[in-house]
Symmetry: C2
Subunit: 336 residues, 2 copies
């Protein structure tokens, strides 16, 4: 008989929470009892898990000693407010909100630096990085044994679901208003997102970089174990519901053998490689999948050490939920 664990999903009613619950079922995660938690507002709602309806409870009243493993997927404020209680109760914590510094909760991408889990000490606390970091790190990790990347220039075109359920409904609302020729008042984003691209996804700091752009650079260096890697990151908001599209230009130490790179990507189990001529997109390809799609692999026009790629990845399912569940599986398999 396999050992089973009592598990809590905090933010179960959100986009990521719902995907977490689905994946715990689909991947046959060894759950004994599943606790679904939300804010007071959603308490009483239910979700289906293994064919049974389960009520969502209010996090405020939750007793963490009931569970062994907790997924925090309700934003950094909620994580910060409850993580001490979870740790005091001896829970294994997988945080999706990046609420804690890397020293306290290292960033781990299951398909890139799973070995980092061995450096954790009980009761175990780990961060699932941003969806964009998961996507890019998965590709770079597959290439790592073959090419030495010195600089990564990233333009991450982010879906509105990176703002959770609210982002999805705001794009739908704005689009409908515009198609019906009604005046538009943006509610969630600072301006029209329908049929428009926004140059930033959060407020820039004094250096002009957004928080997610800083995270992307820091997380990639940490996950790939390459502090010397140079990263230029631009995160933009696009009128797409689900799935991130990422334009990635790499500068490598040596001339790149594009055919060899394609062969490596084609055989990587963590990736879905799309042959030249065709290309992956979020709609129809990446969304709903648990692998990162990569295509448009090409060298430089004037630089033999350049490599360009296009990545499509489901920010909610792959970038958040799937990586978090994989981390849970690895912790259970090797350390609990």
């Amino acid at each position: 008989m396999t050992r089973t664990y009592d598990v809590a999903v905090i933010g179960a009613t959100g986009s990521v929470g719902e995907a977490l619950v689905q994946l715990l079922e689909e991947r046959e995660f060894p759950v004994a009892t599943l606790y679904l938690l939300g804010s007071g507002e959603s308490a009483g709602e239910s979700l289906t898990f293994r064919g049974k309806s389960r009520r969502v409870a209010a996090l405020e009243a939750f007793d963490f000693s009931q569970v062994r493993l907790v997924f925090f997927a309700a934003g950094a404020v909620v994580t910060r407010g409850h993580i001490e209680a979870a740790r005091a109760a001896g829970c294994v914590v997988i945080d999706l909100s990046a609420a804690l510094p890397a020293q306290q909760a290292p960033r781990v991408v299951a398909d890139a630096n799973p070995e980092q889990l061995s450096r954790l000490a009980p009761p175990y606390c780990v961060t699932s990085p941003s969806a964009q970091s998961v996507a890019v790190a998965t590709v770079l990790a597959a290439l790592r044994p073959h090419i030495e990347v010195q600089r990564a220039v990233i333009t991450a075109c982010m879906a509105v679901s990176s703002h959770g359920r609210q982002g999805v409904s705001e794009l739908a609302r704005q689009t409908a208003e515009l198609l019906n020729a009604r005046a538009l008042e943006p509610r969630l984003f600072d301006r029209q997102i329908a049929f428009n691209l926004l140059a930033q996804v959060d407020a820039p700091d004094a250096g002009g970089h957004g928080a997610l752009e800083r995270r992307l650079a820091a997380e990639l260096k940490e996950v790939l174990g390459s502090p010397q890697l140079k990263v230029s990151a631009t995160c933009i908001q696009v009128p797409v519901f689900y799935g991130d599209s990422i334009s990635l230009s790499l500068q490598c130490r040596d001339a790149v053998e594009v055919e060899q790179v394609c062969a490596v990507l084609r055989t990587a189990s963590t990736l879905e490689y799309v042959e030249a001529g065709d290309y992956p997109t979020v709609v129809g390809d990446a969304v709903g999948q648990e692998v990162v799609y990569v295509g448009r692999v090409r060298g430089g026009q004037d630089d033999p050490a350049e490599l360009n790629l296009w990545i499509a990845s489901d920010n909610v399912r792959k970038g958040a939920a799937s990586n978090a569940v994989q981390l849970g599986e690895l912790l259970i398999k090797h350390y609990l």
Copy 2:
């Protein structure tokens, strides 16, 4: 009395043609008689110029000896089919379709390399480069006296109007179908463009680069007079009607003084600089304007010689029509 010229606009019923006619009026281009030309299909339609309705005639039957100046805005096939007749009639040709090699019709961005016009010989034939080249070259030309750029990594997010009127109606049609939950059959693009991003805008060559990506690199080198400039170009199709959004990451020879760069951009008459914190977008800012918008100017996170910028520019009005009309004005002023 200013001298006036008889002018023909080929492709007058298209997106770019319509913008050309508007700008010839708004900028008080010294037009004597304006000839509007289209395919047989649109012959008989009319457009308004200086308050009067003018009929569109069929290009097939047009006698080029009636005009001094011709704007070719009907695609490369049409240009190739009629340019010899235009030149034989002694017409000055401004081509927006890139039908001719650079040796025969140099690429000129009015706000970047206007001095190249002096190298032309009568009857004068010049190419207005792609809208993306116009936008990027305008920004780089403003910076040229101050920083030496060694590499430009470009992700150009292109509006559907880069496919002309058809592109615009296809995005509108697809969006309406989806919002009404009807099954979608893509007609113009090779798949769903509504709420999706396509990784390429034309068929890639053996090296994986699309035609426009090749043009962007070649045109920038030519226009900026920097054959040694390295260019990584990725052109993607986004669900936006009008206006290109461009993520630009530069590597410079020396450390970049970001404040100085901002000061230069702020005072450039060819640009609209948007201060840090705010940022330009195509909807609401660039569309309908004759200047290139630039914002999100920031250095590197880990490289003092890196400079990142965000560009928003109206592909039809600024990138195509306005640059072409400016070229006409310069030719008239200095050479005709």
